[in-house]
Symmetry: none
Subunit: 218 residues, 4 copies
Amino acid sequence: MAETIGKTAEKARAQRRKDERPQEITAAALKEFAQRGFAATRLDDVASRAGVAKGTIYLYFDSKVDLFKAVVRETVIPQFEQVGNLLADFEGPTEDLLRMFLKRIAHDFVETDIHHIIRLIHAEGQQFPDLSEFYFKEVISRGMARMREILARGVDRGEFRDVGLEAYPQLLISPAIMATMWKSTFESYSPMDLDRALDLHIDILLNGLKVPSNEAQG
Amino acid sequence: MAETIGKTAEKARAQRRKDERPQEITAAALKEFAQRGFAATRLDDVASRAGVAKGTIYLYFDSKVDLFKAVVRETVIPQFEQVGNLLADFEGPTEDLLRMFLKRIAHDFVETDIHHIIRLIHAEGQQFPDLSEFYFKEVISRGMARMREILARGVDRGEFRDVGLEAYPQLLISPAIMATMWKSTFESYSPMDLDRALDLHIDILLNGLKVPSNEAQG
Amino acid sequence: MAETIGKTAEKARAQRRKDERPQEITAAALKEFAQRGFAATRLDDVASRAGVAKGTIYLYFDSKVDLFKAVVRETVIPQFEQVGNLLADFEGPTEDLLRMFLKRIAHDFVETDIHHIIRLIHAEGQQFPDLSEFYFKEVISRGMARMREILARGVDRGEFRDVGLEAYPQLLISPAIMATMWKSTFESYSPMDLDRALDLHIDILLNGLKVPSNEAQG
Amino acid sequence: MAETIGKTAEKARAQRRKDERPQEITAAALKEFAQRGFAATRLDDVASRAGVAKGTIYLYFDSKVDLFKAVVRETVIPQFEQVGNLLADFEGPTEDLLRMFLKRIAHDFVETDIHHIIRLIHAEGQQFPDLSEFYFKEVISRGMARMREILARGVDRGEFRDVGLEAYPQLLISPAIMATMWKSTFESYSPMDLDRALDLHIDILLNGLKVPSNEAQG
DNA sequence: CATGAATGAGACTTCATTCAT
DNA sequence: GATGAATGAAGTCTCATTCAT
């Protein structure tokens, strides 16, 4: 009977482990894809990083491509859902809101694994169009909606001039995208202090965007 | 004498063909690199696209990396040099100069094969640091120098506020980089009119950068 | 329980096969290296002779050079070690010991695959210095040490004159080396009876080396 | 007319050069074969060393193999013909003659290009049996004849014991062969002073060969 | 379910040989 | 005769995928 219990317990543990297997593998794969890109990533390395045999990967994923897609799907969403909520109940000037939002996005892009995902999407997107689509729908379009909300808030409250930026709100985060690329490619040749660069960008942007105070006064 | 002429002519033709071989190969290579990325490009395909045997490539280039560098040298750099010259003898307001420069760069990035090169560098730069270094030295650093010149001109002539942008002039072209990525990845889900977007960016930028006319007046 | 045994047995069999794989490969490699030399040996041929796929070789050996070293390690060195042991507890006159040692070495050189290895080292050592160095350290230097021991024993026991041969003990086996070359190159034009030749060499050598018995008497 | 003369002169020079072409090529090839062995020698290198185009080699030799054979044929014979004559009119003790002969041979082997030829023959002999045959007939058999003459002279004059060495006179030069191999393969790991080694060999040899003086006296 | 040995297609690169000039 | 650009077969090594255990 003790044996039976033991077996059940073992089974439970095995079960638990089994359920987590795919995530363990995608987590390991993210690291490898991030480091080496799609083509150069070896499943051997993914396997040993995940602590499983190479063949095991094929129990959960049909192919390397399939694994890649799973990685993008599973790692992007969770890391992005947090940002939106910040905006919901913000009080105070829209300038501060935008400033906060842009800094947050930029830091998320550059300092988490997201910048690797971005690189992967950029690099391999054409090869796997459904990935781009997935990424656009789940991430990009949400981000654009958020930024449009902020811009509208600023205009509505008479804080921002309406320059038509809601057509291409992605312009707001182009420095974050540039930084993403810069950090993973040119940082060693010409380092960039993300905060200073962002402050510069935001200052110029707000200067260009704000309703001039003298006009407001006049 | 007719013979002599004949021989000379033949020689000339052969010579011309020989001289053009490398360009034929780099042209084919550009197409393949753009389509598949660096690692996934097969020299076999480059060769057959160029209409030569595989071994012929090695008569002119030491390795795949060497071939890639030649592609950059022959397609990217010349375009940059043209831009550089535009600035040399520009008269008129720096605002116009900057506007022209940024539009030109953005169009070059997005509408030529350069955006493929950029994607490739972003995607595989870490795997082949040679490429990144080469690209930074030959292209990026030159571009940064040009932009610093423009900024300095604007400040010197009392047209621009000195906000410290010369520290990270790459901010100026971050929309071009963003557009590069956008066009090859998300264009079909949310089209972007490059010109309109650029105008927006430039307007905001200049608004934020220019010495306010009322200050000037006051 | 029967099942357990069955499984254990199966495992054991699989294990055994797995364990033998490297030897199967080195055995095949020896044949190919011997026949064609190092550079001209194709791993394709090694693989098909060993009855495995080309890639399988790389599961066990890092490179062609590595494979060669393994061949030497597994075929040459064991034979040398056997010889070494013979000396360990030899009693009796050093003359007999030397005679036995030289004959043994010569036979090992000429009548086993070792002479092919020697030819290969001679032929391609300069091109692949790795091989020479490895062979010298693993084989030659050990052989020299053995011979120095024998010479010292002879001198210590008052059997040999001390002529300084310990400086270049390789002189002792130069006939074996010559025979190695002769057998694989000139044997068909002028056959050489290895035993008779060795006896001749050893007789002359010992005659020249031994402390004259009349001196000993006188 | 001046032109005609000029042309004739040029033609003569060209002719002269043409006649020497093959030798220039084989000379260059010897250097390359010696340095790298047969397989690793590139005709590109041979051509540029000879100062001709690669295609030119094929005007004079059918293939790389053909060139190799020509090299052996043209470089070995001349370098070997000199030795024989030394013996013809030697007076004095046969011991001195043998000593001189062996040293001469060894130096010729080791310090000229001959040791490269020997290596080539050893290395590639099996691949090209007609080369071995050629070499044996032209070189080896002559050398053996010379050594037999010396041995016979020694025995006839009562200087040497008749131990039957005339059966395998190649034993006499086995140290030279060993040295040949040693110098090109192991010299850097364990240097060998050719002269000292030879003196050792010869002393032992003569000691073993000579009719003992005390016997002669007694 | 899990393993990891085995596979074999395919990549880059080299180089003997050919041939138009 | 001489050139040297061009060829393409062949070699080593890698790695996604399979499958017997």
